[in-house]
C-alpha cells in the first residue's frame, strides 16, 4: 500500500477534463486507487466521485494505491497530478 500527498497545481483544479484524464489512467491499473481530500476518501477510478470531491487550485489531496501494480500506479498518476493534468 502506497500513500502520498499532492497539491493541485492547475488553476481550474480537478474539474471535468482533468478528472476524466485521471480516471482513464487509473482504470488501466489493477490496484485499488483512493483519493482523499479533507478527510473524505473517494474511489479514484470513478469520475463522478472525483469531481464531487471538488478539489480546487492549491488544495491538498492524498493518493492511496494498493495492489499488484501499485508502484507503477503511484508513479504514473502522481505524474499526471504534478503536471497539473496537462493544464499548466
Amino acid at each position: 500500500m502506497l500513500k502520498k500527498d499532492f497539491t493541485i497545481l492547475n488553476k481550474m483544479g480537478l474539474h471535468a477534463r482533468p478528472a476524466a484524464l485521471f480516471v482513464k489512467k487509473a482504470n488501466t491499473f489493477q490496484s485499488e486507487i483512493w483519493v482523499e481530500k479533507d478527510d473524505e476518501n473517494v474511489n479514484g477510478k470513478s469520475i463522478m466521485a472525483l469531481m464531487m470531491l471538488a478539489a480546487g487550485y492549491n488544495d491538498s489531496i492524498t493518493l492511496q494505491v494498493e495492489g499488484a501494480d501499485e508502484a507503477k500506479a503511484m508513479e504514473e498518476l502522481g505524474a499526471i497530478i504534478n503536471a497539473g493534468f496537462n493544464e499548466l
Binding site: 485499488e32 478527510d39 473524505e40 473517494v42 470513478s46 463522478m48 464531487m52
Partner: protein, 328 residues
Amino acid sequence: MPPPVKDKQPPPLTVGEFYKRHGEFLQLSLQGRELGFTIPIGEPSINRPGLALAGFLDYFALFRIQVIGNSEHHYLEQLPEPVRLERFRLFCRQRPPCIVVARDRQLPDHLLAVANTEGIPVFTTGMISMKFINAATIRLEWDYAKYVTLHGCMVDILGMGVMLMGPSGIGKSETMLNLLDRGGQFVADDSVVLKCPDGKRLFGTQKPEGRFHMEIRGVGIINVFALFGSRCILAEKQLELIIDLLPPDKLNELDRLGDEILEREVLGVKIPLKQLAVTAGRDTARMVEVAALNQRLRSTGYETAVEFNKTLLEKTRMNDSHNTDYHI
C-alpha cells in the same frame, strides 16, 4: 483494503441557518432586532430555562435554543419588575444562542431590550412549547447527524432503499439504469452520503454537487432527471439493504440457501447484506430486484428457506414430537 471510512459530524448550525431552514415549518418570526444570526447552536436540543430564571444557573444548558413556554412566561410575569429584569439579565448573560417564545406570545419590551443588548435574537412561534420542542429537536438531530460517504450507488426498489457496492467497472451504474426502467428510483450514483440521525436508521442521499448525475462508461455523464423525469428521482431514502456485486470468479462462494445473515455495519447500524456475482448472461438488475423483494418479505417475518425446510421435514416425516422446532 480500502482506507478506513471516517465518520464526520456536520458543523453546528448558526441561528441564522436554523431560522432560514426551519423557520417556516416551526412558524418562527423574529421579534426585535436582527442580530446574533452567526452564533452557532452548540447542541441539537431545546432547553426550558425554568431553573435558570429562578436563579439557579449551575449546569445551565447554554448551548441550546431556549424556549419560553407557559410556565416560564407566567413565572416571569409574577416576579416583581426589578427581580424579573435582574434574573432575565443573568440568564441572557449566559449567552445562549437564541430565545423562542411559544404560543405567539411576545417578550415584553423591557425583556426584549435586555436580550438584544446581550446580543441574543428573540423569535416567536405560533406553536405551543411542547410541539415546538418536539419538532425542533427532530429537525436539529437530522441536521447534526453524523455521516459518512461510501462508494456505491443507491436506488429505491419498490419502496426499499438499496445500495449497490462493488469494484469499479463491475456495472453498478448500468444495473441502476436498468432498475430505473423497471420503476426504481435514483437516489445517488458513485458517492452515497449516509447519515444516522437517531442511532438506529441510516438515510442515504447524494452529495449536492453531483445531484441527478450519473456516469455510464462510453456514454459519459448523464442527468437522470433530464432524461427520465421526476418519477425516477428520490432525494433521500432509508437504507435497508446493501448488495455487493462481485466478479464472476466469486460465483461459487455465494450463499445458496439465502439464510446466511450477512450484515455490514455503517455508523454503528447493521444493514443486511447480500452478495451477487455479475456474470455474462445473468440479468443483474433482475437479481438485485428479487433480492430486494425477498428482503422485504423477510422483514415481515417470513423466512423462505426456513419455511421450505419445514415443509420438507414434514414430508419426510423426520419431524417427530422432539423435533417440532427444528431449524437449519
